[in-house]
């Protein structure tokens, strides 16, 4: 997205917003994690609740509830040659349904998109299939869109799960 032309102050059309969602997933799937992290606002959050309708990630455990620092630790760890759980590297693929703009506030430059998805994470002979709905809360800042919140609601968030090592 860095190469995209700077956004003005005019309302952002749905196509541009949808393209952002597709690109965000693609950066993960292509393991361009630094570029992915760069999409997040300074106070951005990547949240995957542990239960349905979970009000927050502070008083209740989540699967992910990561600010920029925790995401950075995760991404740097993946580059560390002593990340033994990644000596057989994990690979992932998002398959997205067309995103829909759920709310827009053009004046504030804030948009919320809802995207149902299927996500596969594979490691050697094991394959994990997850599905759910991803909510992207975007804000226009410094001439581009940034993620305030990516909230991933898994269909089976409360199931017993094996390791999830990448980013659904």
């Amino acid at each position: 997205m860095n190469a995209a032309p700077a956004l003005g102050t005019a309302p952002i059309d749905a196509e541009t917003l949808e393209a952002f969602v597709y690109e965000e997933a693609r950066l993960i799937d292509e393991k361009r994690f630094d570029e992915w992290l760069d999409l997040f606002d300074e106070d951005g959050l990547y949240w995957m609740p542990l239960t349905r309708g979970q009000p927050d990630g502070i008083n209740h455990t989540s699967l992910f509830h990561e600010d920029a620092l925790l995401l950075r630790i995760r991404i740097e760890r993946l580059k560390n040659p002593h990340s033994f759980s990644q000596h057989r590297p994990s690979h992932c693929q998002h398959v997205l349904q067309r995103p829909r703009v759920e709310t827009r506030d053009d004046e504030a430059g804030m948009y919320v998109l809802r995207t149902p998805f299927i996500y596969v994470e594979a490691q050697a002979d094991d394959q994990l299939l997850l599905a759910g709905v991803s909510w992207l809360h975007l804000v226009r800042r410094g001439g581009r869109l940034r993620i305030r919140l990516k909230k991933v609601e898994l269909v089976n968030c409360d199931a017993a799960l094996p390791s999830i090592e990448l980013f659904p």
Binding site: M48, L50, T51, Q54, I58, N59, H60, T61, S62, L63, F64, H65, L69, L70, R72, I73, R74, E76, R77, N80, H82, S83, F84, S85, D158, A159, A160, L161, P162, S163, I164, E165
Partner: protein, 438 residues
């Protein structure tokens, strides 16, 4: 070769004082015997009584793969009943938590009903059993309830086998870790809160349990996670306030000396705890107001003593491990010889600031979740052992570190933190609990 079931000497020979045969981890028959012997004779953690506050409230789980209901009766007593209709065996309730309307359990298949203590109440068209031997069988009486259930300060334990050690003899002094966790509440009360993480592991249950007092692995296995956190934080000015997550990650890469001096205390029957003198939880920032509330409740001296006890992991062999210092527990649920489910639960310290709950919620997510980078490291190592132990040519797993002949006489006591004595203690209990006979 005769199966282990019929050959007590061969089974006994799997465990030596300083090493164990790889079959204890990879042989399906040994696993089945563990479920039938060790896990039935040991005291198992079932659940916490705050999960079922009212009469008729229940919580379902498994003990050694057997489905059970932890039920609060009309008399407020907590019972553990087999989740199996006396008639044809259907599980009576399938939700994890629930409430029995009208004070009775009703089978979803043929409508047999039971009182909350498990006794049979009604059978539709009961006349159809007249003249039959129903009354002479368990079906005529109701659900099988466990006779040996103890609610220790909210922690409910049960023994599946009618024969075995008394609760107090089995756990003895190790219960002081539960005491410390409960005492950390100004009201002396814990409540399950913050959700439960359920993490599938491709390993034998013992690998997980052993790891809880294994202090030689964090600086190696967790270097990539905690070491990365440390490196990223190193760029900060020294007086920058440390985020709680950084405080929690960094001690995982403390040096060998730290973990050695931390100490480990061994009790009989496989129980132990690391962190006799201090632990990875010792250097957390104080949470304002909490200490005052504790002092108001207990007096300054006693409050200091409670907070001064900062144990690392206590193992209640074979299925419970606890972290009193941050009020969290993990429960091992064996599924197969190479499959174990680990549940992580957190607690609210009743009467303490909510920040304490937030701290344990953060910790359990960072360390115990299926998404945890620390969890990934551990799980990888367990699985690597589970697969590696299929190699032939070396049948033995070494537990020699700091072994001393004095352990033969008496293993209970205090040792240096990096000793493998806790694992030797577990296998000593294993050998006894695996003996043939009732």
């Amino acid at each position: 070769m005769r199966p282990y079931r019929d050959d007590p000497q061969r089974l006994r020979a799997l465990v030596r004082e300083d090493r164990v045969h790889r079959d204890v981890y990879i042989d399906p028959e040994v696993f089945e015997l563990e479920m039938q012997r060790l896990w039935r004779r040991a005291w198992l953690y079932v659940g916490h009584d705050s999960q079922i506050p009212e009469p008729g409230d229940y919580y379902t789980t498994t003990l050694a793969r057997e489905p059970v209901i932890m039920m609060r009766g009309q008399d407020k007593q907590v019972r553990v009943l087999m989740n199996r209709c006396a008639h044809k065996g259907a599980q009576l309730v399938s939700a994890t938590h629930g409430h029995c309307e009208g004070g009775l359990l009703r089978c979803p298949y043929h409508g047999w009903t039971y009182r909350l203590d498990g006794s049979l109440r009604t059978i539709p068209l009961r006349a159809g059993y007249e003249g039959t031997a129903l009354e002479e069988t368990q079906a005529g009486h109701g659900l099988v309830g466990l006779a040996d259930v103890v609610n220790y300060r909210g922690f409910v334990f049960a023994r599946l086998s009618p024969q075995g050690m008394d609760f107090a003899d089995y756990f003895a002094g190790s219960l002081s870790s539960i005491d410390n966790m409960v005492d950390r509440s100004p009201e002396g009360r814990l409540q399950v809160a913050g959700g439960v993480l359920r993490y599938q592991h491709d390993c034998n249950w013992k690998m997980f349990i052993e790891n809880l007092n294994d202090t030689m692995h964090p600086m190696v296995a967790h270097e990539s996670a905690a070491g990365t956190a440390k490196k990223l934080w190193a760029g900060q000015s020294p007086d920058a306030p440390k985020p709680m997550a950084i405080e929690q990650f960094l001690p995982f890469v403390n040096g060998y000396d730290f973990f050695d001096k931390m100490g480990v205390r061994i009790y009989p029957n496989g129980h132990s705890y690391t962190g006799v003198h201090f632990s990875i939880h010792s250097a957390y920032s104080a949470i304002g107001e909490y200490e005052q509330r504790l002092e108001q409740a207990y007096g300054a001296e006693r409050a200091r003593a409670i907070l001064g006890e900062v144990r690392h992991n206590t193992v209640y062999y074979p299925n419970l491990t606890i972290k009193g210092a941050i009020q969290s527990i993990r429960v091992a649920r064996p599924i197969a010889v190479d499959k174990t489910l680990i549940e992580s639960w957190t607690f609210r310290l009743v009467g303490a600031p909510e920040k304490l709950l937030q701290r344990t919620v953060l910790y359990t997510r960072l360390i115990n979740a299926p998404t945890s980078v620390v969890g990934h490291d551990d799980r990888h190592c367990y699985r690597a052992m589970q697969e590696g132990l299929h190699a032939q040519g070396n049948d033995w797993v070494s537990l020699h570190r700091n072994f001393s002949a004095a352990e033969r006489e008496r293993i209970a006591g205090d040792y240096n933190g990096t000793s493998e004595v806790s694992m030797r203690g577990q296998f000593r209990a294993w050998a006894t609990l695996m003996e043939s006979g009732s």
